[in-house]
Amino acid sequence: MKPLPERLNERLEQRNARSSCGEEPSVSALTRDPEADALVALALRVQSAPPLRVDPAFARHLEQRILVRNAALHLEQPVRGWSFPRLLRAHPVFRVALGLCLLLLLLGTGALLLPAQATNPDSPLYVVKHWEQQVQISLAHSPENQAHLDLQFAQDRLKTLVTLADAAHLQAYSEALAELDQQLSAAARASDALPAGAEHDRVASQLATLQAEARHTLRGLLPQLALPERLLTTDELGRLGDTVPHLVSVEMVLPAHQSGQATISIAGDDLQPGAQLLVDSRLVEGTGSFQNGRYVFVANWAGNQPPQRLGILNPDGTAAQTTTITLNSSDEHGNGNGNSNGNGNGNGKP
């Protein structure tokens, strides 16, 4: 015997079938099954209970009401004939097209977001990032917009620089520093290009803030850098208006003999007490004295060739170096006689 729910359902189906054929549904017409029949009788009573039947007058009234509401809706929204969801429902090809567009958008967004996170100039994605930024700037629809983008990208370069300030990324650091310089210059040009007014003042103020931030950041990086990068960073600090050493004149008196003591005299601005001597980008032990803005170092000299570059490293980490050196040979009386060559590295004044 089938379970009761199954039997009940069969009897309800049979009853419905008789009902749809116009026959009077009757429980007694079926084979007796008291348990199922009692439930079917209950179902029949529920089905035919007058309280569950709709009053025809109410039905007519409500139908009119909803049609009036429908008409009112169409009057409120006369252009409902074209809507994006309706278009999608009506034409499956639009769904496919939309799906493809979304896919391309996702891929495109991913392809653009990935480079956006690239911070190492050695990375191929960094090139893409640059390209993206150049495109953005070229598409900037107003000078204000371009100035803001330049500021934003300069800020971005500054952040990049911080991640590269270690011995493992010397080359990348140098490149990023050059890019920071370019971007700050571009931002300054964009700011200058803006007509006088509130927007100009706002951009100029943002640029000044960024420059101050850059000075602060670069100074903080100095202790982590090797000497060549310190020299470059000092140059940049100078361009940003910071106080950095500038070499005005550098004189070297070579010893009369092959080995002896050389005297190096360095004059310039913002030389700090306690500075150290740099010879060909290396720190050299020497005794120095600082008087009237001029440093005089005495150091052992054993070389045959005069140095290419001389400079100083200030205690605050800034450094300056120059190739413009006046060379003198000392005679027995200590008088020098020689020539000068070279040019400055940015901090020296030839």
């Binding site: 009761l4 729910p5 199954e6 009940l8 359902n9 309800l12 189906e13 419905n16 009692a38 439930l39 209950l42 179902a43 009573r45 529920v46 089905q47 209970a49 007058p50 309280p51 569950l52 039947r53 709709v54 009053d55 109410f58 039905a59 409500l62 139908e63 009401r65 909803i66 049609l67 509401r69 429908n70 008409a71 809706l73 169409h74 409902r80 004939g81 809507s83 969801p85 309706r86 429902r89």
Partner: protein, 208 residues
């Protein structure tokens, strides 16, 4: 009869004939569902009106393409509407009239008061009986109620009700059996009211 998908398309475009056809198709089920859950015909009619007005207002967003899905959608609106009605009642104080109760002609379940066959005693009994039926139906689980509406009032087969509820056919048969069994247990052997009159039931119904 026009296929439901075409009818739906036309209804979404706001064509009155299609909306009327849908309304007529689902009115018995919606009204039966609501009438079995609220204490009087006037309330049932008010709530039914709300359901169909909502149907008209939101049919353009309906994605269903078959009858079972449309029935499920409309019954869902009905369920939420009834739930809202009971929530509102929870926050309203119950008014108890000190005057003898008068039957409202417009709220009659069937026989007008001036009917020569009108029997006040029978009417009161019918009211109490229907009160018990409403309570019993309210005591069913929601899916049991929807199975009864789908099977007994809308006249759908088990497969359609299964699609409507997102269940398997055997589950629908089991729900149908349990619903009727529970009604039988709750109502005992008392007969259903043949002609119930307006009800003034103020007792809080079960939770929805």
């Amino acid at each position: 009869m026009e296929a439901i998908d075409r009818q739906l398309d036309r209804a979404r475009r706001g064509e009155p004939e299609a909306l009327s056809a849908l309304y007529r198709r689902f009115l018995p089920g919606v009204f039966g569902y609501i009438a079995a859950r609220v204490p009087d015909r006037a309330t049932a009619e008010d709530l039914t009106s709300d359901v169909f007005v909502q149907m008209v207002e939101s049919i353009s967003r309906l994605r269903a393409t078959d009858e079972a899905s449309v029935a499920a959608w409309i019954l869902q609106i009905a369920r939420v509407t009834v739930a809202g009605y009971y929530r509102k009642r929870e926050h309203q104080p119950a008014f108890v009239s000190l005057e003898p109760r008068e039957e409202e002609p417009g709220a009659s379940w069937g026989i007008p008061d001036n009917n020569p066959n009108y029997d006040p005693v029978r009417s009161a009994e019918a009211h109490d009986e229907w009160d018990a039926v409403v309570k019993a139906i309210n005591a069913l689980a929601e899916d049991q109620r929807q199975v009864l509406v789908g099977r007994l009032i809308l006249g759908y087969d088990v497969a359609t009700v299964a699609r409507m509820l997102g269940k398997k056919a055997n589950a629908v048969k089991a729900l149908q059996f349990r619903a009727l069994q529970r009604l039988q247990r709750l109502l005992g052997t008392q007969p259903f009211p043949e002609h119930a009159h307006s009800f003034h039931l103020h007792a809080k119904e079960d939770v929805l």
